[in-house]
Symmetry: C2
Subunit: 300 residues, 2 copies
C-alpha cells in the first residue's frame, strides 16, 4: 500500500467537534487537502476558512478521498456515518481507507471491517486519549486496530495528530485498548473523589494533603490534574460525564460478553449515572465529587 | 522546645519490622543513640549490632529516651505500646516526645495526645508512605499531625527518614492524610486490576497497551509500578493485603463517623476481604486481579 503524503493523498474528515476540528486542522496545516462533513455545518466553518472543501454527506466525503477519518459521538453515529445509506462506505472507491477515531465498540469495528473488505475498502479503529488539549497540541495517544499494512500506510497522517501511535492488534484492538484506558480512569476517579471528600470532611488543608500524597504510591494523572480543579471548585469539562458514561457502557457490555466480573466498573458507571441524573452530564468527570456530596446530604 | 540533634537527643524505637528497622537504622547512621524494643527480639538484632541498646519493654525504652518512635501493626498494638501498663507513656519523663508512625486511627492519636499532655509529655502522629523501598532509601513521605513546636523539634529526625515531611495539622491529621492516601490507592487498584484483566481477556498484548495508556490520563504510580509485576505474574508483597484491609477498615469507620458515603472504598474493602479469604493476605495488593479471576471462574 502507498504511504500517505501531502499532495498525493486526499483526506476526508467526518465530525468536526472539539476534537475533530483540532485534529483535521493539523492535517490541513501539513498541506493535506481535506473534504469535510459535520452534522452541524457551523462547526466546520473554521476548517473551511483554512481551505477544506465542504461535502453534503459522509458518502460524498468518501467519494473525494483516499483516507476518511471519522470522530463522532456514539456508536450509533459511527454506524450511520460509515455504514448508512449516505455513509462513507457507500461512496468509497476500492483501496480507500476508513479510520474511525471515535471511542466505539470493538465489535462494530469488526463489522465495519467485514463490510469494507467486501468492497475492497480498508478500515482501522483508532480511538485517542489526551482530550481537547492533546488534540490541540497534536499530543494524542492513538491506539490502533487493523491490518499492519493499512496502519503503516496512514501512519504519517496519525503522526500529525498524536505523539504516541501504537498498533495494538487486529480490528477492534484499538477500541479494546481505549476500554482498558477508561476502566483505569473509572476506578481512579472514584478513589480521587472519595479521597478528596474525606479530606475536606476531616478538616484537612487539602492542598497540603496533595503535597504529601501526590508524588507517591497514591499519585496519578487524575489526582494531579483534576484534584486542583476540584479544590478550586472548577467543574468545567475536560471530559464530559455523558461521554464517560457511554464509554463505560461499552466496556461493561464487552466485559459481560467476555465473561468478566468488573464490580468496580459497574459501581462507577452507576455513580456517574447519578451525576448525570443530577444534571451534570455536560460537566467534567470531576463532578463525581458533587454527586457523592449530594448522596451524603452535604451542602456546599 | 529544643531541636533534636545527635549527641544530645536520645532516641527510643518501638517496632523493628521491615519498615522500622530501616528507619531506625538511618538515625543510628546519623550518630543518634537509640534504645529499642520489639515484640520479636530477633528482628532487632541488626540494629543492636549497629549499636542500639535493647530494652525489655516500651516503658523502659521511654525511660531512656527524649523522643520515642513507634511503628507497629494495628491500632490495638499502638494502644498497648504507648498507653498500656508497660507502655511508653508510663515510662516517659515530662518533655518527652512520642511519635507514632504506624498507620492508625486519628481518634486514637487524639486520645494519646490527651493522655500524654496530662503527664507533660508531647505526642505526634506521623504515618508514612513509600513502603519498604522508601524506608530503605530514606525517601518516605511523612504526614505529621500535632503541635507545630513539637513537629519542629523532631523535624531533623524525620528528615533522616523521609524526603517529604509535611505538617498537616493538629493531632490525628497525619493519620487522616494517610487515609486520603489509602482511599486513593483503593479506587485506583480496582481500576488497575479490572483494566488489566479486561486487556488479557480481550487478547491484547498488555505490555503494548501500557505503552498507549501509561503516560496519559489513565496513568498512575500503581499502574506503572504494579502493572508490570502483574503481567510478569509477580504477586510478592510491596504492600501486604492484610495491612491494606486494616487501613481501609480505619478509613471506613472514620468516614462513617463523618457522615460520608464512600461506596467505592466499601466495595474495594469487600474485594480485598475476598483476596484474603482466598489465602492471599500476605501477598501484595496487586493480588486483587487473582481474586477477580477467581470470582469470574477464570483459570490461569
Amino acid at each position: 500500500m502507498q504511504t500517505a503524503a501531502p499532495g498525493t493523498t486526499r483526506i476526508g474528515w467526518i465530525g468536526t467537534g472539539v476534537m475533530g476540528r483540532s485534529m483535521c486542522g493539523h492535517l490541513l496545516a501539513k498541506g493535506y487537502h481535506a473534504t469535510i462533513y459535520s452534522r452541524t455545518r457551523e462547526k466546520a466553518e473554521d476548517l473551511i476558512a483554512k481551505g477544506a472543501a465542504w461535502a453534503a454527506s459522509p458518502r460524498e466525503v468518501a467519494a473525494q478521498s483516499d483516507v476518511v477519518f471519522s470522530i463522532v459521538g456514539f456508536p450509533a453515529d459511527v454506524r450511520e456515518v460509515l455504514l448508512g445509506h449516505h455513509g462513507a462506505l457507500a461512496g468509497a472507491a476500492p483501496g480507500t481507507v476508513l479510520v474511525d477515531m471515535t471511542t466505539s465498540e470493538p465489535s462494530l469495528a469488526v463489522e465495519i471491517e467485514t463490510a469494507a473488505k467486501a468492497k475492497g475498502v480498508h478500515s482501522l479503529d483508532a480511538p485517542v486519549s489526551g482530550g481537547d488539549i492533546g488534540a490541540r497540541n497534536a499530543a494524542l495517544s492513538i491506539m490502533v486496530g487493523g491490518d499492519t499494512a493499512v496502519v503503516d500506510s496512514v501512519r504519517p497522517l496519525l503522526e500529525c495528530m498524536g505523539k504516541s501511535i501504537v498498533h495494538q492488534g487486529p480490528s477492534g484492538s484499538g477500541h479494546h485498548t481505549k476500554m482498558v484506558n477508561q476502566i483505569l480512569i473509572a476506578g481512579n476517579m472514584v478513589g480521587v473523589c472519595e479521597a478528596l471528600l474525606y479530606g475536606f470532611r476531616a478538616g484537612l488543608d487539602v492542598e497540603k494533603v496533595l503535597q504529601s500524597v501526590g508524588g507517591g504510591a497514591a499519585g496519578s494523572w487524575s489526582l494531579n490534574n483534576l484534584g486542583p480543579r476540584i479544590i478550586k471548585g472548577d467543574f468545567e469539562p475536560g471530559f464530559y460525564v455523558e461521554h464517560f458514561i457511554k464509554d463505560m457502557g461499552i466496556a461493561l457490555a464487552e466485559a459481560k460478553q467476555m465473561g468478566l466480573v468488573v464490580p468496580g466498573l459497574a459501581l462507577t458507571h452507576q455513580l456517574y449515572l447519578a451525576v448525570q441524573a443530577q444534571g451534570m452530564g455536560r460537566k467534567g468527570t470531576q463532578s463525581l465529587i458533587l454527586a457523592l456530596e449530594h448522596i451524603a446530604g452535604i451542602k456546599r
